[in-house]
């Protein structure tokens, strides 16, 4: 019975360093610089509609591309011999163990106007193309960085799909397309939902990818927040306000996703 006490230090830690800070985000978000209650900052959100829409739009594209890339890959992996699976999964995950900034930086060297890709295209007499500082580059960066977050949950639900279930569907008269639509996709739904959240959330809130690959003209929500907190337009209250909106938005997305996915999320993270 006493073992319940073992959680006490963590509960205190959690209260001070998780719950109180979140409370402070709301406190700052709903007050003005002098500490008086005000929703001025929240009502200024309308000014940033285009930034919000751009963030969401790019994150949606990145998420869809990740799903399209990861789904066949996860399925192929899950049907390999168990011994091979481990190695292949390791190979897929290996780049993700490189620091996020370095992975994004790698694409900078590739995409630059006098970067590697343009040099190679130049040999064949093409280009140079304007690739960096575009929205396409941002999406590419998101996909490259976050596609493992889509692969892992998909792979982990697909390994649970027994081959005999697929055979049963064939046995009962399904052709390949019907097996996919009626058995594999419904059974991998929890993985799809987890994958979507795990790619969408970091994509919609990033500020590094847009900074490094998007140039100054493609500001996202993350950039906006960072600018208020650490940047030139130092305004903690406005930064907190935008954070509240971002949080609520993500919370709603997750609530929608959880509707489809009642399986527990534990252990799904990696």
């Amino acid at each position: 019975m006493k073992s319940k006490l073992a959680a006490a230090p963590y509960l205190i830690w959690m209260a001070v360093f998780t719950i109180v800070p979140l409370g402070l985000v709301f406190y700052y978000g709903l007050t003005d610089q002098d500490g008086n209650f005000s929703i001025d900052n929240l009502s200024r959100m309308g000014m940033y509609t285009n930034i919000f829409f751009r963030s969401i739009w790019l994150a949606v594209i990145a998420t869809v591309v990740c799903l399209i890339i990861a789904y066949p890959l996860a399925f192929i992996l899950s049907r390999m011999d168990t011994h091979k699976q481990g190695t292949m999964l390791l190979l897929v995950m290996l780049p993700m163990w490189m620091n996020f900034l370095l992975r994004t930086y790698a694409w900078m060297t590739l995409l630059e106007t006098n970067g590697v890709i343009n040099k190679i295209l130049g040999f064949v007499g093409l280009g140079p193309f304007e690739m960096i500082n575009t929205q396409g580059a941002i999406v590419l960066g998101m996909v490259y960085n976050y596609v493992p977050f889509m692969i892992l949950p998909l792979y982990s639900v697909m390994t649970k799909i027994d081959n005999s279930v697929i055979e049963a569907a064939q046995d009962l008269g399904s052709n390949s397309r019907q097996v996919l639509m009626k058995v594999i996709i419904p059974l991998s739904k929890p993985g799809i939902m987890t994958g979507i959240t795990m790619v969408f959330v970091p994509s919609v809130s990033t500020f590094i990818i847009s900074r490094m690959l998007g140039g100054g003209s493609n500001m996202l929500i993350g950039d906006l927040i960072e600018q208020q907190i650490l940047g030139t337009s130092y305004n903690l209250n406005l930064g907190a306000s935008i954070s509240i909106v971002l949080m609520i938005f993500i919370f709603m997305i997750m609530a929608v996703m959880n509707q489809f996915d009642d399986e527990e999320m534990e252990g799904m993270i990696i």
Partner: protein, 351 residues
Amino acid sequence: MENNNGTIISLKDIVVEFDGERILKSINLDIKDKEFVTLLGPSGCGKTTTLRIIGGFLNADSGDVYFGGERINDVPPHKRNVNTVFQRYALFPHLNVYDNIAFGLKLKKMPANEIKTKVKEMLKLVNLEGYERRSITKLSGGQHQRVAIARALINQPKVLLLDEPLGALDLKLRKEMQVELKRIQQSLEITFIYVTHDQEEALTMSDTVVVMKDGNIMQVGTPVDIYNEPVNAFVADFIGESNIISGMMRRDFLVEFAGKEFECVDRGFDRNEIVDVVIRPEDIEIVPTIQGQLEGVVESVIFKGVHYEMVIDTLDFKWLVHSTKCEEVGTNVGMRVAPMDIHIMHKTTEE
């Protein structure tokens, strides 16, 4: 091949290899229509592989599969008029009982009301009326089993394949399901091909038993044939319990084993051929020592319900004996065997 004498499935020289290992070594088998056929053998004997060949989940490396006289080697599973009850059932966890059973019919685009009546019929057949809306995850093992059978049968296959379907059930439930499967098979008048390693299950349900070992078919016959006239020591040992002792055929109708000569009913062996002698434990009669053909000491006695199982040591062999009479451990007893209960078999040459 020709569709006379009621053969529905026929396997010709089927060979299957995995990683250079021969799983099936040229299997030939004809299965008659409307029969309950059991493929019986220890694990790794190739029985499930044979079933998967028939279901179309595996392609043979060589050999042909015929269905009603037509070669179906290249027909994919979803186009074969055969359905399978999988090991551990392979029910669709995302669908409820109704949708699992209706799966095949929905693919055929059958009208909804027709599907409904058919599913109802099936649920009645497998004694699961009223379970339509249940989630698969909330069913017991026996109920899973019934759903799997209904799901396969609703497509009205000519042949139903069952891959160790009762393996996961407890003993009592298994007995019930054995009776029920037999009832279903007889009422629907279709062919069942049943895979099991449980000899008792095979003997209870089958019309024909196919005994397999190491990718070969050892014997095909009715349960009674297989039990009473096993073709070799392996079959004798696998089907029921047996005493298998090495002996020598002196001449027709006379065999020597355990240091004595015995009259028997077998003939046609070489003179002095070394043979396997098989005697069922229930065919050994315990008699006073003077009347016995063999004499030994009772080493152990176990009460088995209907009979006692005793081990009787005759120095060169330990005999397994079933008797309704109990003898004290340590007493000297005599044993007799009737000539017709002594089964003589050629030694199986190991490959």
